[in-house]
């Protein structure tokens, strides 16, 4: 049996869930399900949706929301908090090293190919140091739990991790609907995240900035799947939400077009992929980008958060080496473990993977969003055989991990509270300081036994509580 976050193996309640258990008993499952419909109506009306492309039906969907919170004790959080900050520091140190001296390769810790042959590696960033030496300003780290004290990192997201708006809105809706749950003040607040984000972004203003830095959020546009989040964050920070066509480059600065004429921009929290940022520097066919922006960036006229080329740090092939990075750059022992990972690029590991594919989870190195993966135990023989063919054809593109005994969190079923697998994504902010609000996004697989929690694959979300001592 997987570890259950709410119940001990003997069926008794883990103490941190005692209050939630009382609440479920007081309200009853039927009552909670009624409140769930109310919550969905509120989400729909205020427009917290994500876009799904090309599947027909409603183009703007709600992510299913589950009322039962996922809870961390204060003690558990202290470990997570330290481990997450440590990882964010190491990943940023690695990025600086990759684009400068490459010490980690010279030391023989990482093979050069994994870095320099990687499509996320950006030669244009070599020898350039972003303001404050920060590359990844918002680090989203996906964490799973397999036992009482064991947290493991599934994946790092150093580019533009999404979902933080759900962390904030889930809390908002829970406090709106169940104020009595929060009345005792035992749940640590998360609502200063936008203020912390703005502070972090202002701290990395470029050399050309004079006075209070002008920060903007750059979105591809209102059809993007995460547009709601982009506008939400801009709104809560009180900064402009711009699209590429609102920006232009002149005299080594980036300007936004306003009704009063051009206004200089200092820091851009961009939610656009590297390759679409600047048609002059990267993809010439990109209709999205701002021509010349990368050149201004290199000359210190603007800060891009996150830095182009940061993707090299969250590549699944690079992930394997993060514990080594922590030892190498920080001289510390890793607080959070990696999940055991076999690299299909290595012949002996590939052989193991091909032999045990029906027991493993196999992933594409560059894949995301739960696409292109194989969950061995839940697949047919034919599916496994077909995937094995793909691995043989192009082994460097694949990794595999054991099928984990992921913990389950209490989730509201039609007639009772049921256990469903979940993961957790906290958002670590890196400016001059490192900031972490106590919480994050818990994503939950809503189908019994399923291990896939991505919203694009039908997963849901729930509020995450960090209890205060």
């Amino acid at each position: 049996m997987p570890f259950h976050e709410m119940f001990e193996p003997d069926g008794s309640i883990r103490p941190c869930y005692a209050e939630v258990q009382n609440w479920v008993e007081r309200t009853g499952v039927a009552g909670l399900n009624r409140r769930m419909d109310e919550a969905e109506a509120i989400f729909r009306r205020i427009g917290i949706t994500f876009a799904v492309y090309g599947e027909g039906g409603d183009p703007e969907r709600l992510i299913p929301f589950d009322l039962l919170p996922r809870i961390f004790t204060a003690q558990e959080w202290r470990v997570l908090d330290k481990g997450i900050r440590q990882r964010a520091r190491a990943l940023n140190a690695f990025l600086h090293d990759v684009y400068h001296r490459g010490e980690i390769v010279k030391a023989g810790i990482m093979p050069a190919d994994i870095i320099y042959q990687n499509s996320a590696y950006l030669a244009e960033m070599v020898d350039f140091t972003p303001p404050g030496r920060v590359y990844s300003h918002i680090v989203g780290i996906d964490i799973v739990r397999t036992g009482p004290g064991s947290f493991e990192v599934l994946e790092d997201n150093c580019r533009t991790p999404s979902g933080v708006s759900y962390m904030l809105e889930n809390r908002e809706i829970m406090t709106r609907m169940f104020p009595e749950l929060f009345a005792q003040g035992i749940v640590a607040p998360v609502d200063d995240y936008p203020a912390e984000l703005l502070k972090s972004l202002k701290e990395v203003a470029p050399p050309a900035c004079k006075g209070d830095p002008v920060v903007v959020v750059l979105t591809p546009g209102s059809l993007n799947s995460a547009y709601y989040e982009h506008s939400f964050l801009a709104d809560l920070m009180g900064v402009e939400l711009v699209e590429p066509a609102d920006l232009f480059v002149d005299e080594d600065r980036v300007w936004m077009k306003t009704t009063l004429g051009p206004k200089a921009v200092d820091v851009i929290y961009r939610r656009i992929d590297d390759e679409y940022l600047d048609p002059l520097a990267f993809r010439p066919d990109s209709l999205l980008g701002v021509p010349g922006i990368f050149n201004v960036y290199r000359k210190g006229g603007v800060t891009l958060a996150s830095a182009p080329g940061s993707g090299i740090a969250d590549d699944k092939a690079v992930y394997v080496y993060v514990p080594e990075m922590i030892r190498f750059y920080l001289g510390e022992k890793p607080i959070l473990d990696n999940i055991q990972t076999w690299q299909c690029a290595k012949p002996d590991e590939r052989a193991y993977v091909l032999e045990h594919l029906d027991e493993l989870v196999a992933k594409e190195v560059h894949g995301s969003g739960g696409y292109g993966m194989l969950i061995g135990p839940q697949s047919t023989k034919d599916e496994v055989a077909a995937y094995a063919e793909r691995i043989r054809a192009n082994p460097v593109e694949f990794i595999a991990q054991p099928t984990l005994d992921l913990s389950t969190v209490p989730t509201l079923g039609p007639a009772s509270v049921v256990g469903r697998h979940a993961d957790f994504r906290p958002y670590c902010l890196v400016g001059k300081q490192i900031r972490l609000v106590p919480g994050g996004l818990t994503r939950v697989a809503l189908t019994e036994g399923s291990l896939v929690v991505n919203s694009s694959q039908g997963g849901g979300v729930k509020d995450t509580w960090v209890l205060q001592d």
């Binding site: 427009g47 209102s222 709104d235 939400l241 711009v242 077009k257 306003t258 009704t259």
Partner: protein, 310 residues
């Protein structure tokens, strides 16, 4: 403020205003179509004419209620249909989301795909209910704007959009119905005129207001006076022009800069101040209205240019 945001607010307001006007026109069409002899007068044609889309319906054949409900309520190929307008207003709002209050957004977002589920037969069957729904949406939006939005330049752009759109609708309605308002076509005071006029006033939600200003009698010059020149009636052309001038002056204040749009709107306001309904009839109502439509179109283009719309 970003130029794109200003443009989105301006068009959002225009589309909401247009959705409401179109809903009112459908009510007018229904009222007039039940009058004796309506069949011969092709009343539904005058409704599509008033939206500026008369050329889409070939002369000769009768325009039916089904045609009009389909075209003005549901048709996504018609950029001015109510469904198109509501979708576009929401899309503009989405792009300018950070400038809207939560209430304004909710007013646009609530039931934004409602009309998707209607075919024309159902829409005809539920027409009064759907018209009420559209009006309620627009009024909720307007109320949220009125009570919650910061009175910054964004608000001025929004109000410019609604005033311009509203002036155009009143002008077009006058143009379509000008022959009805002229004494040569019918004996004044006949029942049919009475209903036609009340329908026009009703379409502009001005029949009660008209009574308060002129008492119970309907004359062409009084109706023209009311819809063109009355400064108290919020859908009159004069009122809308004054609003436009006020909003554009505020924008000039924010920006410390005037543009051609400011000269044009000044000219428009003064033009109406120097005229009375007798004068309008001497020049010709049709000519006056046509020149008004040309001026509002020019003003729209000048606003777009002055504030760097895309």
């Amino acid at each position: 403020m970003l130029s794109r945001t200003a443009e989105n607010l301006y068009w959002m307001a225009r589309y909401m205003e247009r959705a409401e006007s179109t809903a009112r026109l459908l009510t007018m069409g229904q009222r007039m179509a039940i009058l004796p002899g309506a069949h011969h007068r092709d009343e539904w044609r005058s409704v599509v004419r008033a939206t500026g889309a008369g050329h889409q319906f070939p002369e000769g054949a009768q325009v039916t209620e089904t045609d009009v409900v389909s075209f003005l309520m549901l048709d996504l190929d018609n950029p001015s249909s109510i469904r198109s307008c509501l979708l576009k207003a929401r899309s503009n709002a989405k792009s300018a989301r950070t400038m809207l209050t939560q209430d304004m957004w909710e007013a646009l977002n609530d039931g934004w795909r409602k009309l998707d589920s209607y075919d024309v037969a159902e829409a005809r069957q539920h027409l009064p209910e759907l018209i009420d729904w559209v009006k309620t949406r627009v009024m909720t939006f307007r109320g949220a704007t009125h009570s919650g939005q910061l009175r910054n330049e964004g608000h001025d752009f929004l109000r410019c959009g609604s005033a311009l759109e509203r002036a155009q609708m009143t002008l077009r309605l006058l143009d379509v119905k000008y022959y009805v308002l002229l004494p040569e076509t019918e004996v004044i005071g006949g029942n049919r005129d009475h209903y036609q006029w009340t329908s026009v006033l009703h379409a502009l939600s001005g029949s009660r207001a008209y009574h308060h200003v002129y008492g119970g009698t309907y004359t062409p010059w009084q109706i023209t006076d009311f819809l063109m020149l009355n400064r108290l009636f919020p859908r009159s052309v004069a009122y809308c022009y004054t609003q436009l001038a006020y909003r554009l002056n505020r924008l000039a204040g924010w920006h410390d800069a005037r543009s051609e749009a400011h000269d044009t709107v000044q000219e428009m306001v003064e033009g109406l101040e120097q005229i009375d309904s007798g004068e309008i009839f001497r020049i010709g109502l049709h000519e006056t209205v046509q020149s008004g439509l040309r001026m509002t179109n020019r003003l729209g283009a000048e606003i777009a240019q002055a504030y760097h719309f895309g």
